[in-house]
Structures are given as C-alpha cells and as structure tokens.
C-alpha cells in the first residue's frame, strides 16, 4: 500500500479501492457492536449503508475516518492502513475526507463562513481566497446568503446543508454522510438527497451514505442529477445508477453487499421484510 502524500492522501491507482474493511470487529463494554465486517468502496462509487436504528451504522462511519479504532481487523483508506496509524498521522488523512455528521455538528460559536472555511483557515489560506471558496461551497448548497449567520440562526435543514458545504469545500476524495436526512421533514430531506446526488454525479466523489430511510436510498439509486435542469431526474424505468450500491447491517453483521437489483430481488427473509 502507498504512503500518505502532502495533501493527506496518496493518489491511488484507478482500480485501487478508496476504502477497504477487512474482517473488522468492534465492541463497547465487552458487548460486540460490529462483527467481521468486510466491504470495499471503489473510486467514484456511492455505497448506501442501511440498517435498523442502533445497529452500529454511525460506529462504522467513525471507523472509516479513524475516529474509532477496531478491536480486530484492518481498515484501509486511500491505501493507508488507518487502523494501525497514530492519531497524529490520521489528521493528515482526514483532511482528504469530508464528513457530514448526524446533527451537522457545526461549531456553534463560529459563523457559517468560519464553519465552512474552518479547514481552509487551518491551512492559512488568505481571507479573500477562503471567502471565495466558502461562497462557492455555499452556492452549491444554495445558502450563500447565510455567510455571516451563526448556526443557531439557521433551521435544521439549513444547518445540514451548511455541514455538506463544510464537507465539500476542500474537494475531498471521499465523503461520509451520517444520516444526512435524519429528523428532517420530507421536503427538506429531498433537498439534502439532491445535494448528495449532485456531489455524486457532478464531482464523482466516492461516498458512504448512512441512512435508515429506504425512500432516500432508493431515490439515490433510481435518479440522477441533471446539470441542465439543475435538479434530479428519474432514470428510465428499470434502470438504476451503476455507481450506487448497498450495504445492509443486521445484528452487527453485514447482511447484504450488492447492487440495487440484487437487494430488491433478494430472497433473504430479513432483507425482504426490511425493504417491504
């Protein structure tokens, strides 16, 4: 596997997966949470992680960017074995990963501009360049008018969109979404899913999307983002997005890893019950 580069990640081969989980297990207080998890995320691929509440989806996301360490097994991100790296070295890798947390996790004492531009300011970019790139990222989520507002002045949906802007402002090679639509109304949820889709189809960024809302998952799999219409459009009947596939967690284990068609036509009783 290759070494970490100056920008926090190596330039992997085209075929080299961006993320590899190899027989990963983790537990808390002697209680296993995830057991023997193995899967891959290839470049440009969007993997939707489904599963009932409390099954360990967020734990899996935190394992992916090294916020948690597995008890056993190995995790590779951009070719680097992050499960064996020191915390200090992980900060560089994380710079190339965008993360959208469940509740947004915006810094409540910073303005939207400083939240979105946090990473840029840490890299000592000029104020003008930071403002330009922050405005660009906020325009992507259609919130450029909120630059000087504080997170407490925004609605739940707006906070989630700002969190997406913060995740994409550095043009990461991988984006992790932790229930980006959780707790939002259906209309706002659709807006957020459209943004996830826009990032997938416009920037072709690899991503892991955690959700327990099947509707959001299937919208992602059966729609594409149209630049001309500046919105999402359904794919022709029977077609699904070839870069989008599914993972399903059940009782701490990976119950499914495959395409949309395989998921829909699965004969597994749990999967049939879950998607029905």
């Amino acid at each position: 596997m290759s070494a970490v580069g100056a920008n926090g990640a190596t330039a992997p081969d085209a075929d080299e997966p961006v993320v590899v989980f190899d027989d990963v297990s983790i537990g808390f207080d002697r209680k296993p949470v995830l057991e023997n998890i193995s899967f891959r995320i290839r470049r440009g691929e969007t993997r939707i992680l489904l599963g009932p509440a409390g099954v360990g989806k967020s734990v899996l996301l935190k394992l992916t960017n090294g916020l948690l360490r597995p008890d056993s097994g190995r995790i590779f991100v951009f070719g680097n074995e992050i499960s064996a790296m020191r915390e200090q070295d992980l900060f560089e890798i994380r710079g190339a990963i965008g993360t959208v947390f469940q509740e947004g996790a915006l810094f409540d004492s910073l303005t939207v501009r400083d939240n979105v531009g946090y990473r840029l300011l840490e890299e000592h970019l000029s104020e003008e360049e930071t403002t330009r790139r922050v405005t660009e990222a906020l325009r992507f989520v259609e919130l450029e008018q909120t630059l000087d507002k504080f997170p407490s002045e925004l609605s739940g949906g707006m906070r989630r969109r700002v969190a997406i802007a913060r995740a994409i402002v550095t043009n990461p090679k991988l984006i992790l979404y932790d229930s980006p639509t959780g707790g939002l109304d259906p209309i706002t949820s659709t807006t957020i899913i459209e943004l996830v889709m826009k990032q997938r189809d416009v920037s072709h960024t690899s991503s892991l999307v955690i959700t327990h809302r099947l509707q959001d998952a299937f919208v992602l799999a059966t729609h594409h983002f149209s630049r001309e219409k500046n919105g999402m459009l359904p794919l022709p009947a029977g077609e699904t997005d070839s870069h989008t596939s599914f993972l399903l967690l059940h009782q701490g284990r990976l119950a499914f890893d495959g395409t949309t068609a395989e998921l829909v036509h699965s004969e597994d009783p749990f999967i049939r019950e879950y998607i029905s």
Partner: protein
Amino acid sequence: MPLATIDAAAKRGVLAVQQYAAMSGRAMGNLFRRPFYRSDVFLQADIIGVGSLPIVILTGFFLGGVLALQSSSTLTQFGATAYTGQLVSFSMIKEIGPVVTALMVSGRNASGMASELGSMMVTEQIDAMRALGTDPLKKLVMPRIVATVVMLFFLVILSDMVGIFGGGFVSVVMLGQDGSQYFHTAYQSLEFPDVLQGLVKPVFFGFIIASIGCFYGMKTRGGTQGVGRSTTQAVVVSSILIIVTDFLISRFLIGIFGR
C-alpha cells in the same frame, strides 16, 4: 457483589488517572509541534486572566483586610501589633494569595472549560474537529493550559499585592497603626524562600485547573446532564487537588529551605 463493585470502581479510577496523564502529556507535547495556536492562547489568556481580575482583586483586598483585623486583636495581647504587616505579607504571599486565587479561578474557569468542552463533546463538535483534521488537544486543551499557568502566576502576584494593601488599609484606617511601620515590616521580613514558595505554587495550580477542567470536559457523556456533572466534578476535583498540592509543595520547600 461488593468485591466486584470495589474492583470495578478501582479499575475506573486507575483508568481515569491513566487517561488524565495521557491527555495532559499529549497536550503539553503539542507545545513543541506545529501549528502553535498563538491566537487561541491569547484569547484564553484574555478570558482567564483579564476576566478573573475583578474577583481576584476583590477577594485579595478583603482577605488582606480581614487578616489584619483578626491578627491585630491577638497581637495586641502580646504588645506585638508592629508585626501585623509581617503576618499579613507572610500569609498572603506563602499561602492565602496562591490558594484562594487558585480556588477562585478554579470556580470560574475549570467549570467554564468543562462545560464548554463538554457541550462540544455531546454535540459531536470535538469529533467534527478531529474529522476536519485538527487535533483538539492542540487546538483546545494546550492553549487553555498555557494561558492558565501564565495568567494565574500574574494574578497571584496581583492578589498578594492587593492583599497587603488591604491589610495596610485596615491597619492604618481602622486600627490606627503606623502605615510606614506596617509596610516596612511587611517588606523587610520577606526572604527568598517565602517569595519562591508563593511563585512556584501558582504554576502547579494553573496546570491543575486547566488540565482537570479540560479532562472532565473531554470525557463528558450523556447530554446536558452529563455536561452539568462534568462541570461539578471539575470544580470539586481541581479544588481538592489544589489544596493537597499546596500542602505537598509547602512541605517540600520548607524541607529544602527550612522556612
């Protein structure tokens, strides 16, 4: 069952000490790693140092005053009121100045740090910071420790000074003593070991306040209730540690210098 409970509590205690040592060690190790968050250090110095000025000045002045008031009645019995200045300056510089200032700053800032970092923990802001590639121990903990150690040092000097003036004010205005004599004995009786003792203590106390405040903040779990619990624990533990450390430093320095 009781044995298992004791066993679990002992393990939790050892683990907490280990986590505290690891956090403090890593935070201080960051002093020598780039980037150095200079602006965060200055911001914290302003919050901790300048923000604590009113309480430190007020408590210092009245503590010096009450020391003079209480001691003079006893000293009068022996015809030794001339030693009021010496007693006040000794007490303020060696013990009361450092300990009371540290306790006041602990009440104000250890709780503030624990609640601020605790809120950031429960709202995933600390995780977000780590996910954005920033070490929270470098960005949040190290500046608070450096700022508290430096600012408490100067706050204690200020408190000592104001306390001696407070004692002088009470001695002259309320007890009718000679001001020149008061300040003369207060100054003349001080020796190097006394001043050293008064200046070494705030360095340790400052470290205790900030590291304990940040430690309890960073280990906060369980929502707003958890934040409240962390805040209380931070103040209680830092206050106890300040008093215990005060005894140990006093014993150590008296052992070396003989006073």
